[in-house]
Amino acid sequence: MADLDQFRKDTRAWLEANCPPEMRKPMTKEEDTFWGGRNATFSSEPQRIWFERMRDKGWTVPHWPKEYGGGGLDGEEAKILRQEMAAISARLPLVSFGISMLGPALLKYGTDAQKREHLPKITAGSIRWCQGYSEPNAGSDLASLQTRAEVNGDDFIINGQKIWTSYANFADWIFCLVRTDSTAKKHDGISFILFDMTSPGVSTKPILLISGKSPFCETFFDNVRVPQSHVLGQVNRGWDVAKYLLQHERAMISGMGERGVGRPLGQVAADSIGTDDHGHLDDPVLRGQIATFEIDEAALACAAERAVDLAKAGQAHPAFSSAMKYYGTELNKRRYEILMSAGGSDALEWESERSKDGARARAWLRTKANSIEGGTSEVMLGIVAKRILDLPGA
């Protein structure tokens, strides 16, 4: 306990000395997030300083082993670091699918050589990853994917198409599900493979969304040659890796709402709507909606905290991340419906100085994908029903 108290004190002091003031404000624009990568640029000098200091400390991924550039922190220490960062509203220095999705799978399924090759580049932010899962005819029914990899000497030759590949156009490497045995049952013929996006035959095309932005791409593979040694886990057992990774992805998406928080919703609403003589929002119905929302939001935060503690106590249900993913994304959609309602016509501005180029409206539209990406709400509920509640299959 005394050690942890000391760790908290040291952490607080270090953050105080090293986190630039500009990095202690809620993120409002896309450029506020630093994703790393070969061609990464910093949007500001403080962003660069903050990232480099955290990287040097091993705190871009505090809970990974030091040998891979992580911080080597245990669960309690990592929690303290999160709390202390939250206390000063410190931004995450690096956001990446390498950290939140691929990394855990690499740590569990990777060979020593694969870990040494990839993990340090993730913690250092020098390689940016994207995820090649969905295909035009394999969305919720992911295991019906058709992109195929055929053996050719020591290599695979990959052909096919992926869709909804987030930021594929900025990514350096892809982790990808491919069919390596088309005669096996659909879950049993899939492999999980890693390759460089600059390999000949890889091309991407952005998909414009209703938000007017384009985080997603279509990704095409035309005779892409990849060494067989780039398979993570066993050939044809990629579904195990994919499922493991999805748990992390779902945990990440369920946390998105939480991280997006700037000021409390009630305060944001009071700014635009105004308050009556009692200091109550001048829209009693919206006030009630906000208060009810904030109760659910606080409840989700408690559940997230408990999920970590349950995992530590060895009592976590492996499918619980599906419950969190479902609840967190539905809640985030509610948050933005309320924000739009609170903002009124101001929130509807799409191209104007004052609206920061329609930031709120675009974010609102973006949230609608939360309950689709990474498994739809309906898929999540199905998983909870079957795996946690043990309800019979149809």
């Binding site: 409390p264 009630g266 009071a270 559940a303 479902y326 309906e378 029903a385 509640l389």
Partner: protein, 379 residues
């Protein structure tokens, strides 16, 4: 502190579950209801509660109790919620015990707390006057008379009021309804002249009473805490009450949900188990999420009440609001998914629906606590 039960707490839960599940299943409540039992709970069982140390759970050890905390009280309440066992645990072992141990003088503590720990003394908290929980709207007057006071007014929804040996009464010694200042808590003997107690049989077959006070004399010894300063004491007591009632709602929600999921796996329609239907699967899965979130909020609130009593208000508001909404959903879904059977008196599900409705109202419904949260956050 980790948001999971530790080993001692898990053991307490297991022993409470064993006792309550065996001695007081829902049929116990049904029997008390059907026989129109004048006490409304089993004194014998309450004696067993005392032997197990449950009635004195929150009583400090020096007065014969076990000196445990709110998390432990919540554990007992959750088990009570699973079988709807009627008992004076909330009124006496939680509310009155807390009022006395936090606000009482040495003399008041030794006079009453030992009796509570032994299971011999039943006490009730009288706060609400209108149909909805509005503690600040307390209008009941306590006017100075000699070196004591005279109480006049009326209270309702007084849990266990008709069997109480001691009443803890919130009254106004100054100020007007709506103001936080000017409230005082009094210890009143229900046998005192001028008190009229009417048992109000409630929809859930649990105990409550309306009590009218007509110029009731209370001596200076009967003041609990300080005159005019009772508001903070009362709010603290109520917060613990809210936290443990949220536990009871959680227990009831879990039990009724468990019964529903079991039914989904047994009942066939259209040649299939109804649990195979996606419409029902998704509703069950959603309810599971709500219950899991509720469990986390309740444990958080109870832990905070033990760790940092004064700062627990917002967490308690969240827990009670969430538990009220989840409990309401759980019982509604249970009746709907059980179909016509759920509507019959012969089936237990209706008992849970009735109790959840009462627990929702008790010490503020979900709307009350959402409003509290909005006020705390200043919008």
């Amino acid at each position: 502190m980790a948001l999971v039960l530790n080993e001692e707490q898990s053991m307490l839960r297991d022993s409470a579950r064993g006792l309550i599940g065996t001695k007081a299943p829902v049929s116990h409540l049904r029997q008390l209801r059907d026989s129109k039992d004048p006490t409304g709970f089993s004194r014998e069982l309450w004696g067993t509660f005392a032997e197990m140390g449950f009635s004195g759970l929150l009583v400090p050890e020096e007065f014969g109790g076990t000196g445990l905390g709110c998390v432990e009280a919540g554990i007992i309440m959750e088990e009570i919620g699973r079988t709807l066992m009627p008992s004076p645990f909330l009124s006496t072992a939680v509310l009155a015990t807390l009022a006395l141990s936090r606000g009482g003088t040495a003399a008041q503590k030794s006079e009453y707390l030992t009796g509570i720990a032994k299971g011999g003394l039943i006490a009730a908290l009288a706060v609400d006057e209108g149909a909805k929980h509005r503690p600040l709207q307390t209008a009941m007057q306590a006017t100075r008379s000699g070196n004591g006071f005279k109480l006049s007014g009326a209270k309702g929804f007084v849990i266990d009021g008709h069997v109480a040996d001691l009443l803890i009464v919130a009254a106004r010694t100054s100020g007007s309804p709506g103001e936080a200042g000017g409230l005082t808590l009094f210890l009143v003997n229900p046998k005192s002249k001028g008190i009229a107690v009417e048992r109000t049989a409630m929809v859930d077959a649990h105990n409550a009473a309306r009590i009218v006070f007509d110029d009731v004399d209370v001596t200076a010894d009967g003041v609990l805490g300080e005159v005019d300063q009772g508001g903070v004491l009362l709010e603290g007591i109520l917060n613990v009450g809210r936290g443990v009632v949220a536990s009871e709602l959680l227990g009831a929600s879990e039990e009724v949900f468990g019964r529903t999921v079991t039914y989904l796996k047994e009942r066939k329609q259209f040649g299939k188990l109804i649990g195979e239907f996606q419409a029902l699967q998704h509703r069950a899965a959603h309810l599971y999420c709500e219950i899991e979130l509720t469990r986390a909020t309740v444990l958080k609130a109870l832990q905070l009440l033990d760790e940092n009593f004064e700062a627990a208000g917002p967490a308690v508001a969240v827990a009670k609001a969430k538990a009220g909404t989840t409990g309401t959903l759980a019982v509604q879904e249970a009746v709907q998914m059980h179909g016509g059977m759920g509507m019959t008196d012969q089936f237990d599900i209706g008992f849970f629906m009735k109790r959840a409705r009462v627990c929702q109202e008790l010490f503020g419904d979900s709307n009350f606590h959402a409003d509290q949260l909005a006020r705390l956050r200043k919008y």
